[in-house]
């Protein structure tokens, strides 16, 4: 429940955000990508503001679940401002590192974030369990927010709101992965067969992914090369998820949009998290933390010091 003081600071924050958005428009941005009122009290919806009047509806809070960085590639060539949470800013940094966005075309409005809601944990039509000034209870948050290492934007031109402390979950951020990977391989395979049995091949996961830049050229929808067939077998569905995970290995910032977008709640983020952890362990690389970094799978070295069997050929 918000107190009068919270309400006052909420209004201050909103005013600051709207002012920053207007400033960005004045500075030459054609659009401000942010959030505005949603269809119900617990939800914020993406809002693309092109005028100061539209900026007056901008808002932020635990309902701001979308990663707006996913829209930037389509707007390339135009100067835009975008509101980014910590995780969203990593997507921007990663796209910059890959040369897929230009920094000079972006105005980044950073919004430190205390976690976003997991819609599956809310009853339909429930009142908002929190707002920008007053964080929602942990049990209603997206689980990935409970292990968030980057609540504050890694990259921003202006930051609005107080900084947030990174989460330090018990057993480390990968405790659930360790538990999953400890299960026998057959059991894990059955798990994926069961989970992916629901897959509709709607590709909402891919469409929501800010790093999926192929769009109309996706391997999933081409016959040349024909990696995937139209067969509705679990094998094909799993293969698509594996391809998606491999294509985002060392790039995925774990923004969770793929899993959030899934209409049948398949935990596809797990596959990507495992590879992200591998990339960190092997190459010391955390994707989307520095736009100047070279992602490990986007470079070539004849010898990888951290992959010991690579020199085996020399002993021939």
């Amino acid at each position: 429940m918000s107190t009068a003081q919270d309400a006052a600071s909420l209004e201050t924050l909103r005013a600051e955000l709207r002012r920053a958005a207007c400033d960005a428009l004045q500075a030459g941005a054609e659009l401000v990508l942010g959030w505005g009122p949603g269809p119900d009290p617990a939800t914020l919806a993406p809002l693309f503001a092109a005028s100061p009047g539209e900026c007056a509806a901008l808002d932020f809070g635990p309902g701001a679940v979308q990663n707006l960085a996913g829209h930037l590639r389509a707007l390339a060539g135009r100067k835009v401002a975008v509101c980014v949470k910590g995780c969203d800013s990593r997507s921007v940094a990663q796209l910059l590192a890959e040369g897929l966005l230009r920094r000079e075309e972006l105005v980044l409005i950073g919004l430190p974030c205390a976690g976003v809601l997991d819609r599956t944990r809310l009853a339909p039509g429930a009142p908002a369990p929190g707002d920008w000034a007053c964080a929602a209870p942990d049990e209603l948050l997206d689980p990935r927010c409970l292990r968030c290492r980057f609540p504050n934007p890694v990259l921003a031109d202006v930051t609005i709101g107080p900084g947030r402390a990174p989460r330090e979950p018990e057993g480390g951020p990968h405790a659930d992965l360790d538990a999953f990977l400890a299960r026998p391989v057959e059991e894990r395979f059955r798990h994926w067969e069961r989970e992916l049995g629901r897959c509709l091949r709607c590709y909402a996961c891919r469409n929501a992914c800010p790093l999926c830049v192929c769009r109309d050229h996706c391997l999933a929808e081409t016959r040349r090369p024909g990696w995937l067939s139209q067969s509705s077998s679990v094998r094909e569905k799993l293969l698509f998820q594996v391809i998606h995970a491999v294509h985002t290995a060392g790039r995925c910032t774990e923004c969770g949009q793929c899993q959030r977008a899934c209409p049948v709640d398949i935990p596809v983020l797990t596959l990507k998290r495992v590879l992200a952890r591998e990339a960190e362990a092997l190459f010391g690389h955390v994707a989307g933390t520095d736009p100047a970094q070279v992602p490990p799978l986007l470079t070539f070295r004849a010898e990888e010091p951290t992959i010991p069997d690579h020199g085996a050929e020399e002993g021939r």
Binding site: L219, R224, G226, W227, L297, L298, T299, F300
Partner: protein, 659 residues
């Protein structure tokens, strides 16, 4: 599509454990296969003619040969198919020898596996497309790395063949190890008299550009069009002015610099010309020992130099050379005998290496050609030679025979008798290895005419006794302990890879073996080529070699380069990556991963950025293909669809039950 399948017996190599007729019969039922037969030797002339005839008779569009490894005969059969009027890439090979008959004995299961491999090849061939190589111009210049006898020979042969040659030598003079030698076996002719004129030829040849005191810093490009950055180290002497008069060397007060040319037998001046016949005969300052450069107080050489060539402010420079081929002739280094504590090398002054002894024998060496003990300058009466120091010893990681030590030890033992009449010489050896023209006769002469005492056995220990050394070892032919008192002990050190070989191999993208020697393309059939097109090997950098073998290999490498350049253009391998511009989204991940710099950014007419493969640079490694998320980059002849078809062909078949 009409395909033909030819199953080879390879005599009994395949037919003994594979039912070739049954494989051919099964192939006839495969999609698009219009003809299938088995033959005893498909690679033989009648075997190849049968393919040509079948293509004509049955109107075939493609051919599968099930036989040996493609490494063996893919080129052979591509030529056969081309002779039959087909595109050479409308051909697939199924390896049913190395992958089947040589690794399994069960004829029934071997036959089933051979059939599977043929089915994969058929499915691949059904998706093959004719490919055509592109012609591209070559730079008719060759880089020779290393100016020892091999590099000199290769440079002269190439230059005489009409090529421009760039010779890069790390030291300040060419000549290499051979220039350090006094005499050469088995003719005992003067080394510098043989080599000297050739060195002069290099200096005077209008087709040879010599970069001495320089190193190869980086290499980019590909066969026919390499770009090489040569780092010219700072000599602190302007070589365009230096006349090699040697005044500076005489007057230099810093007399403690190391002298690698004399193998550490005597110190050198800080400014030095390594030997009288040096090419180029120019002085170089050792900056670590020069008083002017270390303390800022001296400048003697600058004062005495009549041509004003001294330049203390000189810095290294880099020059870029464009060449079409590279010959590596970086030679070898000698083993450091300090590894064997029991011989006392480095501890006892009168235990020296064979190269130090060589310098002692040389009239231009520090002792003026007199054999004198380093400890007291006395002439030795008894000299012991110990062979296999750093050769044929697994325990120190040198399991190989260095090849030339038996011969040079015999030469040195003979020369000892010439230099010190009446001196007694002993040689401790493991085996005498003298396979060469006139070599064994030479050893016989040492034993019989010069009275060199050969003792077959290893030395266990060398220790001082008074001012002499006691060499204790075994005589395995007499089955007895022997003990010899010696005035001088010479360790016949073996060969090891040259320092920096690993770095150079990485720069040139060639392989190196476990001992640091460069890998030839094939031990028998491609002994001077490497697996990198346009890079050739000459001399001891490929493995220990004596002078005749090094010179032969150098001439062979030169012949290969001349052959490569014989036509003005080269054909590029069409098995390269190709970007489908309709699928490319311009993310340029391929550009970032390409190890050969073969991908460039291109702006299409629609303004969109796309990747483009430079066909002549692409080596067909496929890194870009696995990097491209959309599969927009496809390796021609190994496209995703072709490989997936092979996988499907294999996986759709129920696997045979084991046991």
């Amino acid at each position: 599509m009409r395909l033909g399948v030819f199953v080879c017996h390879c005599g009994s190599n395949i037919a003994a454990t594979v039912d070739c007729a049954a494989v051919a019969l099964a192939a006839r039922a495969m999609p698009d296969v219009a003809f299938a037969a088995d033959s005893v030797y498909t690679c033989s002339e009648p075997g190849q003619e049968a393919i040509v005839a079948a293509v004509a008779e049955h109107g075939l569009d493609g051919v599968v040969v099930a036989s040996c490894s493609p490494r063996m005969h893919e080129r052979t059969f591509r030529r056969t198919v081309a002779r039959a009027g087909l595109n050479p890439y409308m051909f697939e090979m199924a390896n049913i020898r190395e992958h089947v008959s040589w690794v399994g004995r069960d004829k029934e299961r071997n036959t089933a596996k051979a059939t599977d491999l043929v089915r994969m090849a058929v499915e691949k061939l059904r998706r093959n497309r004719p490919l055509t190589p592109r012609e591209f111009p070559v730079t008719r210049r060759v880089l020779v790395v290393g100016g020892g006898v091999a590099g000199i020979q290769a440079a002269l042969d190439c230059a005489d063949g009409g090529l421009e040659v760039v010779l890069v030598e790390r030291a300040s003079s060419i000549g290499g190890k051979m220039a350090q030698l006094d005499k050469t076996f088995p003719t005992v002719d003067c080394s510098s008299c043989v080599l000297g004129p050739r060195m002069v030829d290099v200096a005077q040849h209008p087709g040879i550009t010599l970069h001495a005191y320089s190193e190869v810093a980086s290499v980019s490009g590909w066969v026919g069009n390499f770009e090489v950055a040569v780092r010219r180290k700072a000599t602190y002497v302007d070589w365009s002015k230096c006349t090699g008069c040697g005044e500076c060397v005489k007057k230099c007060p810093a007399r403690d610099a190391p002298d690698p040319f004399n193998a550490g037998l005597a110190p050198a001046r800080a400014i030095n010309i390594p030997f009288p016949q040096a090419i180029p005969k120019k002085a170089v300052i050792n900056p670590a020992h020069c008083k002017q450069l270390t303390t800022g107080k001296c400048g003697v050489c600058a004062k005495v130099c009549p041509s004003g060539a001294i330049d203390y402010a000189m810095t290294e420079t880099t020059v870029t050379e464009k060449v079409g081929a590279i010959i590596v002739a970086t030679g070898y280094e000698l083993f450091d005998p300090k590894v064997y504590g029991q011989y006392g090398g480095g501890r006892y002054p009168d235990v020296i290496t064979s190269m130090q002894y060589e310098r002692m024998l040389s009239a231009s060496g520090p002792t003026g050609g007199h054999v004198l003990r380093p400890s007291d300058g006395r002439e030795p009466r008894s000299v012991v030679f110990i062979q296999c120091v750093g050769s044929r010893d697994r325990h120190i990681g040198r399991p190989y025979c260095s090849g030339f030590c038996c011969m040079y030890t015999a030469k040195q033992a003979i020369l000892t008798r010439d230099h010190v009449p009446g001196a007694q010489t002993y040689v401790f050896y493991m085996d005498i290895r003298s396979p060469g023209k006139g070599y064994d006769e030479f050893i016989r002469r040492a034993m019989e005419e010069y009275g060199v005492r050969y003792v077959r056995g290893r030395v266990s220990r060398i220790f001082p006794k008074g001012d002499r050394l006691v060499v204790r070892g075994a005589d395995t032919l007499m089955a007895a302990q022997v003990q010899v008192e010696a005035d001088l002990v010479v360790l016949a050190v073996g060969a090891e890879h040259a320092p920096g070989a690993h770095e150079l191999a990485a720069t040139l993208r060639v392989s190196i073996d476990e001992h640091g020697f460069f890998m030839e393309g094939h031990p028998k059939l491609r002994p001077v080529e490497t697996n990198t097109a346009g890079v050739y090997l000459a001399g001891a950098c490929q493995g220990p070699k004596d002078i005749p073998a090094s010179v032969s290999q150098a001439s062979a490498a030169a012949a290969k380069v001349l052959g490569l350049f014989a036509r003005g253009t080269l054909a590029s391998d069409p098995q390269v990556a190709l970007v489908d511009p309709r699928r490319c989204v311009g993310c340029l991940k391929c550009l970032k991963t390409c190890p050969f710099g073969a991908i460039r950014e291109e702006q299409g007419r629609d303004g969109a950025v796309r990747a483009q493969v430079v066909e002549t640079v692409c080596q067909g490694c496929g890194v870009c293909c696995v990097t491209c998320p959309q599969g927009a980059v496809q390796l021609q002849h190994f496209t995703d669809d072709q490989i997936l078809a092979e996988v499907e062909a294999l996986c759709r078949i129920p696997l045979p039950t084991c046991g």
